[in-house]
Subunit: 338 residues, 4 copies
């Protein structure tokens, strides 16, 4: 972490998204210095907590970072906590804030309230850019809201379809997630013995990523309420979504693959293939891999989408957003994750 | 494997279903002798091939077993191979044959032909009893067709609903399966490195368990073509199905749980609970665990069903069927698997 | 949990050893009633905490159990906490207490103090029977100290050797353990993401099972200080020990297998085989599987020993000890675990 | 895979080492073109076989590559097959050959014969450089023999000790390996169901990496015959070795850590730390992480060493060797694996 180049701050650097940010920013050619804040680990060496990181330096308390000096700040707090921190960072003069929480993903204060509770900084909602560049373009402005991991996979698979097809009658998203998606905090649910040799649905039918998926898809077309059922499976990282779309006139699978090719041409990290994506095809990368099939008998369109929840689903996307917001190539420092 | 009690034969004893049959029959109080045939392993000690089995004895060639002496024969061959063996066993005088293959699951020769090819013994289709006793009653006659693992979980979850609800518009089954479901034969797909830390959809949209699910459900009510998407996940055993039912008037979840309680009362191995089933709740047991939820926003009924694919989904059910066909309690020799 | 038969109490029923005890005692033909105490879970349904258990009933507070009525009490508390509870149970008139903690494994108060701290009930040390029946005979008296999981595997492998060979120069035990050995309490160390796709040594060179192994082996022969290095590997249950013995005159492997056959003849759960034991050969059983090999070049004897840490390494052995102490066959209620 | 820069050939590109080589060379700034040969997969697209690779191009037959044009050739065949291919490549004029097989690791034809059989190209043994640069220096000449995965971890841990300590009485290496170490070929041993939830010793006491460890260590000091016991554990990649050294005068652990710091100063990929290495600390990196402890009671020195078997234990080291042999920095193209 030298002294030249951009100054980056990571807030909430003790969680899994933080670990990935530290790793990615540490290898980014334009980043010159990284300060990593963690309320829980302040004063501890980063490697003491995460020995797999080959970095020196200590976690500091958030207030020890001079926010006004930051070229870019990443906030990886939980929802509800993040908005306040973002507000403060912007007030203190941070040039660019990328928020990895859910706080700025729902542009509507009322909708946020319905799913999360009262919004701590509603006045900022209007300027938050939803950072899924392959669908909504490169980030602009000083505040980027990094998408949720499940919505990333879902919207990348569905947007090209929703854009082109009218009369979608129902959308069912069956998602599988690795355990890192449940966070670093130890609990009965994340105990190895609870997870290993098991699998279970959770959070359905009201998982909080549901309104994010609906809201963002409705920016590109009409879509009914989505049924979203996430499952926990015994892998560390990666997500796979199998999406069933019920529509009057089902397109051919090849046609859908063509839409993907068209919409994502020129983007480095999204690719559709005939073969169904495996989690292993995207794990430890910033990729999203898509595929499509048609169930002729039942008249349904099947979409498949896989991402690494910690990279394209979180920290990889955050760095990609930073690159775009600062005018770099989207894959700068992420070349080995393509 | 003493000399008193019933004589059992296991054909295809070298696969995973065979291993479980050997284990279960070895501990069954009414079974006196077990002969285990395997074309691949004939002449090899059973423990040499599966050291986790605490049994003596050798695999023999199928023709070394005197079929006419058998009180019960279990056939665990692949589809297409099984029907001929079953026919021969019945001809030679085996009293009861329980077929674990797909050969007698579809009662209609034409339908079988559409999904599997020409049926090798269509004349037997009419007398095969579909061995899902909790829905279709105790096995009668000399030929039991043991249900597929996925259909077991699906039909147990859906039958009580299909029986009571008209106007089901669509049924989508998302299934997760452990790798033992792919069989004991080594392949790139079952290599540890291929499966571990991954997950993928496969077989969709035309997995062969689809018509079995539809056909059997239509015995209890009306149901449209089913969309069935199985996935492979990195666990050894167990299956979890998340079923989304689109229906005009969605019942309450409690109502559905009540239907389950009503329909499965008195049956030892099927139980519905409010909590969503985890694979770990049924692994290494002969249970099926069910649950239900309602997605009010999207107007969908969600059903959850978990079984151990090698037990309730195969060999446990086969022994349960044997018990019922021979007039024993369904859980005889399976008490520790409740 | 009916009303006839023996009355059993389980103290510390909320941990993994407790879960196995509940399962095993629930299926034991001589146990009529089970009371399960847990300080953390008192008032909660047992199935609420462990849905994989097919039992009714609630956890109670320890003091709600009438200890004087118990035919047998199992204590599965942590070391230091257990001794006081055992003392109280015996004082109140429990007929038989089986302690699964480390508190009565070291017969010497001074040695206990050196590794664990001050002993809470040293006066009971003299009457505690070390419950490894295959080496030290069936339990007698009112207090059985259930061996540690690692010592179980180690002593079963080493005792026949130590008994017959003089001049052992060094003993190195490399042990691999599943994560259930680390207990049910969530922590960073047992988080799925910490354990999965990893492995590490821990506790060496002063793991507390070391003096237990040495002390008990010295009851059968001479043995130097043992080097014991346990490792955590990403499996739920099971332990494998690879033991390297440095001795002047290395015996043949066949000879050692013969010693095992001789010493363990008639015992249901211990078996030596030429093939090296895999954890999968013993998981979910009460077995110990042994093997031996010789490194001619380096002049070393290699011993291999595998157990399921929760069964033969804890609760299975506890029930086996109960059986023997009460005059039953050692495998009563454990037949399916052979 | 553009046209500028060095021309690289990979022979045996269908195995796991090949996959890693393709990935690493594809991201290497000095490599301009890569030809990948595979006898089994010739004519198939690389991504068709390994969809996780983001490369275009097809596997070709070995003879389709013009060896004389190659700046560097990597040979990842099995032992016995490799030597002939290497000989032919050198004859045809390949500038640098890096052999990942065992064929050139034992410098002595007789020793090779004892463990592997007759050597196919003994005349080349004298010029093969053993490519463990941190111990034996940067590769020189036209033939580099890439070390075995187990020897890499063992020699890096032991060399600094063997160099400084006389009178080592015994060395016992207990190694744990991920399943990728067993190769890509499907077999019962690598079937997910065989490996998952299990662990086992194998290959001992005569695993072929034993003489490689002994021979190379004896280049730096005196060492007796080594006892080497590898185990298979259910992880995809990574190796952990726990090494017990019996020596008259046991040094302090801090002293050993100091030797490591001294000997590996300036090398990018080897690092000793007080904390014991976890496989997760090195997986997906080119690192070797070391630690040391002392068992005072038994008078033993404990060494711990972890590598990723496919990177520092194979393909990462091969690229590192290429870098050094061609005069680049050792970490060129490997920066993200530090």
């Amino acid at each position: 972490m030298g002294c030249m180049g951009l100054k980056a701050g990571v807030y909430g650097g003790g969680g899994y998204a933080g670990v990935e940010l530290i790793r990615l920013l540490g290898g980014h050619p334009e980043i010159g210095a990284i300060s990593v804040a963690s309320r829980g680990y302040a004063g501890h060496g980063i490697r003491e907590v995460y020995p797999q990181l080959a970095v020196d330096g200590e976690y500091v308390a958030p207030e020890e970072i001079e926010a006004g000096d930051l070229d870019v700040a990443f906030v990886a707090y939980g929802h509800g906590e993040s908005a306040g921190a973002v507000k403060e960072l912007l007030r203190e003069g941070a040039h660019l804030v990328i928020d990895l929480s859910a706080d700025f993903r729902l542009p509507d204060e009322g909708l946020y309230g319905e799913w999360y509770g009262e919004h701590p900084a509603p006045e900022l909602l209007v300027e938050a850019h939803y950072g899924l560049p392959e669908v909504f373009g490169a980030a602009v402005g000083r505040l980027v809201s990094n998408p949720g991991c499940y919505p990333t996979a879902a919207i990348l698979a569905l947007a090209p379809v929703v854009r082109r097809i009218d009369g979608i009658r129902s959308v069912t998203i069956n998602a599988l997630s690795g355990v890192s998606g449940a966070g670093a905090k130890p609990s009965v649910k994340t105990h190895f013995v609870s997870v290993n040799e098991s699998a279970n649905a959770y959070g359905a039918p009201r998982h909080r990523h549901t309104p994010e998926i609906e809201t963002m898809l409705r920016r590109v077309g009409e879509v009914p309420e989505v049924t979203f059922v996430p499952h926990l499976i015994p892998i560390t990282r990666g997500e796979l979504e199998t999406i069933v779309v019920d529509v009057q006139d089902v397109p051919e699978a090849e046609e859908v693959l063509g839409w993907y090719a068209e919409d994502y041409e020129g983007w480095a990290f999204v690719e559709a293939r005939e073969e169904y994506p495996h989690v292993a095809h995207v794990a430890n990368t910033n990729r999203c891999r898509l595929s499509a099939a048609v169930d002729d008998r039942a008249g349904k369109l099947l979409l498949f989408s896989a991402v690494d929840n910690l990279l394209k689903g979180a920290s990889g996307a955050a760095v990609q957003n930073m690159n775009l917001a600062l005018g770099y190539e989207e894959d700068l420092g992420l070349e080995h994750l393509k």
